[in-house]
């Protein structure tokens, strides 16, 4: 029983912290707010060189073969820096190709992703707004040359910069996952901007989008378990990223409470502020336990892995909302200004809250597992 990071894991955490402190300062995040792509290609290539893009891919494709714990460590740090870019969607999509892909599909995409030459994303949310991986309104019809996809995918992260889209659609045989070229005919990408200027969402409208027979990932009609596992991994990753963003908010609040003076004293000496900070730390520590327990459980194929993933997402979503909100309260007026950096991190956590299954979805998954 060892809940602490190994020395390699600690090293990964430290090097990620050092890299992001230098290359992903708040000013750098702000610069990308008005950028049409919203991410930095230079940073993407550097992340590839650090081995982050191939972190969990097999060595044969230039990866390091590491697990969800290592991904969570990295996402925790990326969240702390409010890193803007398609890191997690790309890594998740790569994991899907690695799990279910043919040799040809793997050769085509995995090395390109590990080297930073390709970006990918997953369209997990449909027009029906249901996170249940078995339900989707998008349809795949058979054509003489393969398939034609129609329907709408909502809030797809970073699709506008992706070289590869993973799109689920219902074929006559059942849910099927397709590898789709973003420049295919009949495909329309429309940006949707939420409150976090550093998170980019795209609506994908498909009208008879052609997909070849070999564009199917895995078995036709059998995509549900794979989609469920992607929602699960996605949820744990999002929880790690929310945790990191919330950590930053707590650090800023505590730092501010030590120096801001009112009534002749630092406000951190007042119990009203100190107790708030203590409650925030409690939420951070519990979230840490939830995220890394779930990440470990997925890596270890523990029997409660699926449950733990839902618990992490549901718990950390609530906890991060509380911590980031209270950080603004501790700061007072300055925390409500655009110039002060706090909202960068608060908005990152917020943007992830409804993704990969919102808390209601995951709470229902929990009840299904424990109240039979």
């Amino acid at each position: 029983m060892d809940f602490s990071f190994s020395s390699d894991q600690q090293l990964l955490k430290n090097s990620a912290r050092a890299f992001l402190d230098e290359h992903c300062k708040p000013a750098a995040v702000r610069l990308l707010w008005d950028d049409p792509r919203g991410e930095s290609d230079t940073m993407w290539k550097e992340m590839a060189q650090l081995g982050w893009l191939g972190l969990s891919l097999p060595e044969a494709y230039g990866g390091s073969g590491l697990g969800m714990v290592e991904s969570a460590i990295l996402l925790d740090e990326l969240g702390r820096a409010a890193y803007p870019g398609p890191y997690w969607p790309t890594v998740l999509a790569a994991a899907a190709v690695e799990t279910a892909g043919t040799d040809t599909q793997k050769k085509r995409w995995l090395s390109a992703i590990a080297t930073g030459d390709a970006r990918a994303t997953l369209a997990l949310l449909d027009a029906d707004l249901d996170w249940d991986p078995g339900t989707m309104s998008a349809r795949a019809e058979k054509t003489p040359r393969g398939w034609a996809l129609s329907g709408t995918k909502r809030f797809v992260p970073w699709a506008h910069v992706a070289n590869l889209l993973l799109i689920p659609a219902r074929a006559p045989e059942g849910p099927t996952l397709f590898l789709v070229d973003p420049s295919a005919s009949g495909l329309t990408l429309s940006p949707v901007q939420g409150m976090d200027p550093a998170t980019r969402w795209v609506q994908i409208d498909m009208d008879q989008v052609p997909a070849a027979t070999d564009a199917v990932l895995g078995t036709v009609g059998q995509a549900e378990p794979l989609l469920a596992s992607l929602v699960r991994r996605g949820a744990v990753g999002a929880a790690a990223e929310m945790l990191g963003a919330a950590r930053r908010c707590l650090d800023m609040a505590v730092g501010y409470a030590k120096v801001r003076e009112q009534f002749g004293q630092p406000i951190g000496s007042f119990q009203a502020i100190r107790h708030k900070c203590a409650e925030m730390l409690l939420e951070i520590e519990n979230s840490h336990s939830a995220v890394y327990y779930a990440a470990w459980a997925l890596d270890a194929h523990a029997e409660d892995g699926e449950l733990a993933a839902s618990i992490a997402k549901a718990y950390v979503g609530d906890a991060a909302r509380k911590v980031c909100g209270e950080a603004i309260q501790v700061h007072g007026g300055i925390g409500f200004t655009w110039e002060y950096d706090l909202h960068i991190y608060m908005k990152r956590a917020k943007a992830l809250e409804p993704m990969y299954g919102d808390a209601d979805y995951h709470r229902e998954q929990i009840v299904r597992r424990v109240a039979r």
Binding site: D2, S6, V254, N286, S289, Y315, V367
Partner: protein, 401 residues
């Protein structure tokens, strides 16, 4: 990171489970003699005094093994050993600060529950501000003359000995004039009056000391060093051992599931109501997170890391959780949640006091956890000052000094 149990710990768990299945008493233990006998049996099997060094009659086991035993006992709702305060906190204090003669005299009988111990710390006017305590211990050469009143004393009526904090020098600043001494409870100057709690039971007492006698040979540490010693005692009391507690919560959750299946509203089980499901999902997530946190604490203890001020986070977390938990259970169960006698819809659940009862009993007991052993507000002060490094507050009693 590796959260699997070591093979030898898994084996130990299996052996513990077998032992408990064969030995847990079938009927409720009613008399003190029955509870002592069960305690003795647990001790001889190696399940009491697990963390104590072997030279003092303990078993020198790892924190992991102790957690496993507590977890397995919670799983089958085994009656707890008695003398919990003695074995958990007072004995370790004597081991750290006591003389060799005190160790020889008291420790073994404490472990075997031949002598039962209580803690004489809190006073009616010294709760969170424990250092303002007023009970006097006057130096009479070979003994102290003790006068004053204590409150919130667990096991008061059955106690043979108590660990007492009393003021020996009223002229010194309040933290520096306190002395720690062992007090014989079986003497005319000590009167124990049971205190009835909101649960209707009396697990705590008030203790009145009128010209009671505490021997100099029972002094722990030096005169006026009592506050430091109390800090170590409280340190033993916070954190750790949360695995068994979480298992009790999980057992109660199963009862909640059972009740929500059997109780019907408009012909449909409560469990099918989406509003009830959402609440149950939320509270179960909260419950499991307490378990993950317990494992994390255990992993640190295994590595020999002292939890220190971080144990305040653990205590704050589970006691506040427990209030949310039973509040929610009562909300879901409506008036059924308020019944003080178990019915067919749900069986007994263990409250945090160790007393079996209903959700109503557990709900009432949940109000105690955020007050005893340092209230939530005190824990937040500790976390703020010692973990987050926030500046100390300006306090009237600090200004006076």
């Amino acid at each position: 990171m590796d959260l699997t149990y070591a093979p030898e710990d898994r084996e130990f768990r299996a052996a513990t489970r077998r032992w408990l299945e064969a030995n847990v008493p079938g009927d409720d233990l009613k008399t003190l003699a029955e509870r002592r006998a069960w305690h003795r049996k647990l001790y001889e099997a190696g399940y009491v005094g697990m963390l104590w060094p072997r030279e003092y009659g303990g078993w020198g086991a790892t924190p992991m093994r102790q957690a496993i035993v507590q977890d397995e006992m919670a799983r089958v709702s085994a009656p707890p050993p008695i003398n919990g305060l003695g074995i958990g906190f007072i004995g370790p204090t004597i081991i750290v600060h006591g003389t060799e003669a005190q160790k020889q005299r008291y420790l073994k009988k404490m472990l075997t529950a031949e002598e039962i111990w209580c803690q004489l710390y809190s006073e009616p006017n010294a709760g969170s501000d424990l250092a303002s305590l007023k009970t006097r211990a006057e130096d009479q050469g070979d003994h102290f003359l003790v006068n004053g009143q204590k409150i919130w004393t667990s096991s008061g009526p059955i106690s043979d000995w108590g660990i007492l904090l009393a003021r020996t020098d009223p002229k010194l600043p309040k933290h520096r004039g306190i002395t720690c001494v062992l007090l014989n409870m079986r003497q005319p100057g000590v009167e124990v009056r049971p205190l009835k709690q909101i649960t209707g039971s009396s697990l705590f007492s008030e203790v009145f000391m009128t010209n009671a006698r505490a021997e100099k040979s029972d002094l722990i540490g030096n005169i006026n060093q009592g506050w430091e010693i109390a800090q170590t005692t409280l340190g033993f009391e916070r954190g750790g051992n949360s695995l068994g507690r979480v298992t009790r919560y999980a057992t109660a959750f199963n009862q909640l599931v059972k009740a929500t299946k059997e109780l019907k509203r408009g012909g449909r089980p409560l469990l099918e109501d989406p509003a009830v499901r959402a609440r149950m999902g939320r509270i179960y997530a909260d419950l499991e997170v307490q378990r993950y946190a317990a494992l994390r604490v255990l992993s640190a203890l295994q590595k020999g890391d002292a939890p220190g001020a971080a144990s305040s986070i653990t205590k704050l977390s589970y006691t506040e959780f427990e209030k949310r938990y039973y509040e929610l259970a009562l909300e879901i169960l409506g008036p059924f949640g308020q019944l003080m006698v178990a019915r067919e819809e749900f069986e007994e659940v263990d409250s945090s006091s160790g007393e079996p009862g209903t959700f109503a009993t557990a709900f009432l007991w949940s109000r105690a956890g955020t007050i005893y052993s340092g209230s939530s507000e005190i824990q937040k002060n500790i976390i703020g000052e010692r973990v987050l490094g926030l500046p100390k507050e300006v306090r009237a009693d600090r200004l006076k000094v």
